[in-house]
C-alpha cells in the first residue's frame, strides 16, 4: 500500500479546484499552481518508476480488502507499463504548462485553461492507474470532458465545429464502453480487471465474449483514432491551442486509447487468434492510410495530426504482431521484442509529437499562420524553433541517432523475425513517406524563400516556450538510450513482462 499512488490522482484534482478558487481573487497565480501541481506529479511518477523497479503494487481505496480472493474495493494498480505511461503524461504535461505560460497569455480566462488542464491530467492518471473497468470509464469521461472544453477554448467557428465532432464521436465511444461494461458485469458479476480474467479463465459462460470484445475495441478505438474511427482527430487536434494539441496528440490518445486497448486485450481477455489478426490489420491500416492522408496537407497542425494516426498505427500493429504470436503459442521471445518495440515507440511518439506541436504553436505565435504556402525562411529569425523542429522531424522519420529510429528498427526487426514480411516492408515504406512529408514541412516552413513574405516582423518566441521545446528535443535524443540493453531491462522489460506473462497481472491481485 504505497500512499503515493492515490496522490497521483488527488494532487491534480486539488490543483484544478485550487486554481479556480485562488485565481478568482489573485490574478497571475493560477499558472504557478498548475506548474507546481505538474512538477509534483512528475516527481511522484518518476519516483515510482525508479523505486518501484517494475514491480506490481496495488492500492485498495477505502481499505476494502478482498474477501476470499474476490476483490470488492476499488483497486489502483501500478506496474511497469502504467509507470511508464504515467511518466509520459506528467512530463509532457509539465512542459506543456511551461509553454502555456506565454502562449495562453493571449487568450482571456486563463484560470479555466489551467483548471481544465489539471483536470485532464487527473483523468488520464486515473485511467492509467485504475484496476477496475468501471473506474476506467469514469476517469475516461473526466479527461474527455475537460479535453472537449479545451479544444473549444478559442470559441471561434473552427474550434466549435471541431469540438462538436469530437464530442459526438467521443460520446458514442463512451456509451459503447459503458454498454460493454454492462455486459461484462452481467456475465461475470465483477468489475475488477484481474477478477474478470480469473472468472473467464475458469471456463465461465462465454456467450457474449466476442460482443464485449468488439464493443470495447470500437469504443477505445474511437478514443485512440485508429483508422476507420479517425474522423474527429485531425479537426480536434488542429483546432485546439498548441499546448493542448501537444497533450492530446502526445498523451491523451495513448493514455485513454492505446494503453487501455493493450491493457484490456492482454490482461483482461484471453488472447484469441481472430482478435489478434483484427488488431494487427487495424494497426497496419491506420499506419498506411494515415500517412497517405498526411502527405497532401498544407496546414501544419493537420499534417501533424494525420501523422499521429499513422504513428499510432505502428504501436497497434506491433502489439497485434505480439498478440498473434502469443495466440499461436510460438516464439514468445519475438512476441516480447514486438511488444517492446511498440511500447518504446509509444514513449518516443509522446516526446517527438509533443515537440512538433509545440513547434507548430511557436510558428503560429510568431508568424500568425499555419499554412505552409504562406511561410518560408523562418530558420533565420527563429533559430531555436527551427533546430528543435529539425530534431523532432528526424526523430519521427527515423533518422539515427534519434529515438524514432531505434523503435522503428525494433518493430521492423520483430516483424521480420515473426515472418510478417509484408508488414515489415509496409512499415519501412511508411517511414520513408513520413520522411518525405517532413522534408516538405522543413523546406516550406524554415528554408524556402524569405521571411519577409509574411509581411510582419518575425521574432523568436519567449523564453518559457523555448525552454520547453529545447528540453523536449534533448529528451528526444536521450530516449534513444532506452535501446541500450541495460536501460531497456530496467524500464521497458517490466512493461513487456506484465503483458507477455498473461496470468501474472491477475494472479497477483486475486492471489490465485
Amino acid at each position: 500500500m504505497n500512499p503515493l499512488i492515490p496522490l497521483l490522482v488527488a494532487i491534480p484534482l486539488a490543483g484544478a479546484f485550487l486554481t479556480m478558487i485562488i485565481g478568482r481573487f489573485i490574478t497571475g497565480i493560477p499558472r504557478y499552481i498548475a506548474l507546481a501541481t505538474l512538477l509534483l506529479t512528475a516527481f511522484i511518477s518518476f519516483w515510482l518508476l525508479v523505486a518501484g523497479g517494475g514491480d506490481q503494487s496495488v492500492y485498495i481505496m477505502g481499505g476494502w480488502e478482498p474477501v476470499n480472493g474476490i476483490p470488492i474495493g476499488i483497486h489502483l494498480v501500478h506496474d511497469g507499463f502504467s509507470a511508464l505511461v504515467l511518466c509520459i503524461i506528467s512530463l509532457i504535461g509539465l512542459l506543456s504548462v511551461l509553454y502555456s505560460i506565454s502562449y495562453i497569455a493571449r487568450y482571456t480566462s486563463g484560470n479555466y485553461f489551467y483548471a481544465l488542464f489539471c483536470l485532464m491530467i487527473a483523468g488520464m492518471n486515473g485511467v492509467v492507474l485504475s484496476g477496475d473497468i468501471f473506474n476506467i470509464f469514469v476517469f475516461l469521461e473526466i479527461s474527455a470532458i475537460s479535453s472537449y472544453a479545451l479544444v473549444a477554448f478559442g470559441v471561434e467557428k473552427n474550434e466549435l465545429e471541431a469540438t462538436l465532432k469530437y464530442q459526438v464521436l467521443g460520446a458514442v465511444a463512451s456509451f459503447m464502453v459503458l454498454f460493454a461494461i454492462g455486459f461484462i458485469y452481467w456475465s461475470t458479476k465483477t468489475l475488477n480487471i484481474a477478477d474478470i480474467r480469473a472468472v473467464f479463465s475458469e471456463g465461465h459462460d462465454r456467450s457474449y465474449y466476442l460482443l464485449i470484445q468488439i464493443l470495447l475495441l470500437t469504443g477505445f478505438g474511437l478514443k485512440a483514432a485508429i483508422i476507420p474511427f479517425h474522423a474527429w482527430l485531425p479537426d480536434a487536434h488542429s483546432s485546439a491551442p498548441s499546448p493542448i494539441s501537444a497533450m492530446l496528440s502526445g498523451v491523451l490518445i495513448k493514455a485513454v486509447g492505446i494503453y487501455v486497448i493493450i491493457r484490456l486485450f492482454f490482461n483482461m481477455f484471453e488472447i484469441t487468434g481472430a482478435m489478434a489478426v483484427m488488431i494487427t490489420t487495424l494497426g497496419a491500416l491506420s499506419m498506411a492510410v494515415g500517412v497517405f492522408l498526411a502527405i497532401g496537407q498544407w496546414d501544419i497542425k493537420r499534417l501533424l495530426a494525420y501523422h499521429s494516426i499513422s504513428q499510432m498505427g505502428y504501436v497497434v500493429m506491433s502489439a497485434g504482431i505480439g498478440m498473434t504470436l502469443l495466440a499461436r503459442g510460438v516464439r514468445p521471445e519475438v512476441a516480447a521484442l514486438a511488444i517492446t518495440g511498440g511500447i518504446f515507440h509509444l514513449v518516443n511518439h509522446a516526446a517527438f509529437k509533443g515537440l512538433l506541436f509545440l513547434n507548430a504553436g511557436a510558428i503560429e505565435y510568431s508568424a500568425g499562420t499555419r499554412d505552409l504556402h504562406e511561410m518560408g525562411g523562418l530558420a533565420r529569425p527563429m533559430p531555436v524553433t527551427s533546430a528543435t523542429s529539425l530534431a523532432a522531424s528526424f526523430s519521427i522519420s527515423g533518422i539515427p541517432p534519434f529515438n524514432g529510429f531505434f523503435s522503428k528498427l525494433i518493430i521492423i526487426v520483430a516483424a521480420v523475425m515473426a515472418r510478417f514480411y509484408l508488414l515489415a516492408a509496409l512499415a519501412a515504406v511508411v517511414s520513408i513517406i513520413t520522411l518525405a512529408s517532413f522534408m516538405k514541412f522543413q523546406r516550406y516552413a524554415f528554408y524556402n524563400g524569405e521571411p519577409g513574405r509574411i509581411g510582419k516582423e518575425i521574432k523568436e518566441v519567449p523564453l518559457p516556450m523555448l525552454m520547453s521545446m529545447v528540453t523536449l528535443a534533448v529528451i528526444c535524443l536521450l530516449l534513444s538510450l532506452l535501446a541500450l540493453p541495460a536501460i531497456r531491462d530496467a524500464v521497458l522489460t517490466p512493461a513487456t513482462d506484465i503483458l507477455i506473462d498473461q496470468m501474472k497481472y491477475s494472479s497477483q491481485i486475486t492471489g490465485m
Binding site: 471561434e156 466549435l160 465545429e161 464530442q167 456509451f175 454492462g182 479537426d235
Partner: protein, 112 residues
C-alpha cells in the same frame, strides 16, 4: 430476456438518430437516448427475482436484495451523462451564435 434485447434496440435507435439526424439538438437527444439505454441495461443486470431495495433493515436481516452495485454505477453514469449533455448543449448554443443555424450540413468549415 426480452427486456435486455429491447435495451440493445434502444441503443441502436439512438445510434441511428446520431447518424441520420441533421439538427444538432436532435443529435443531442439521440445521444441521450443511447445513454439511457445503457443505464436501463445496467439497472437490469442487477435484477433479482423477488428482490427488494438494498437497505439493511436491522429488524428483518434475511431478505433477497437486488444487486446494489449496478445502481451505484448507474448513478455515477447519470452524473457523467449530465456533464456531457450540458457541455454538448453549451457547444451547440455557441455554434448557433456563430453560424446562425442548427443544420449540420451548413457547418462545414473544416475539411480535408
Amino acid at each position: 430476456m426480452t427486456a435486455y434485447w429491447l435495451c440493445f434496440i434502444l441503443f441502436l435507435t439512438g445510434l441511428y438518430g446520431v447518424i441520420t439526424r441533421r439538427n444538432l439538438v436532435k443529435i443531442a437527444i439521440s445521444l441521450s437516448v443511447m445513454e439511457f439505454s445503457c443505464f436501463l441495461f445496467l439497472a437490469l443486470t442487477g435484477y433479482r427475482e423477488g428482490g427488494v431495495a438494498p437497505i439493511v433493515d436491522v429488524a428483518e436481516p434475511v431478505q433477497t436484495y437486488v444487486d446494489p452495485l449496478p445502481q451505484a454505477m448507474v448513478l455515477t453514469a447519470i452524473v457523467i451523462g449530465l456533464a456531457t449533455t450540458a457541455m454538448l448543449m453549451a457547444v451547440i448554443i455557441r455554434i448557433y451564435r456563430k453560424y446562425g443555424t442548427f443544420d449540420i450540413r451548413e457547418i462545414k468549415n473544416l475539411r480535408g
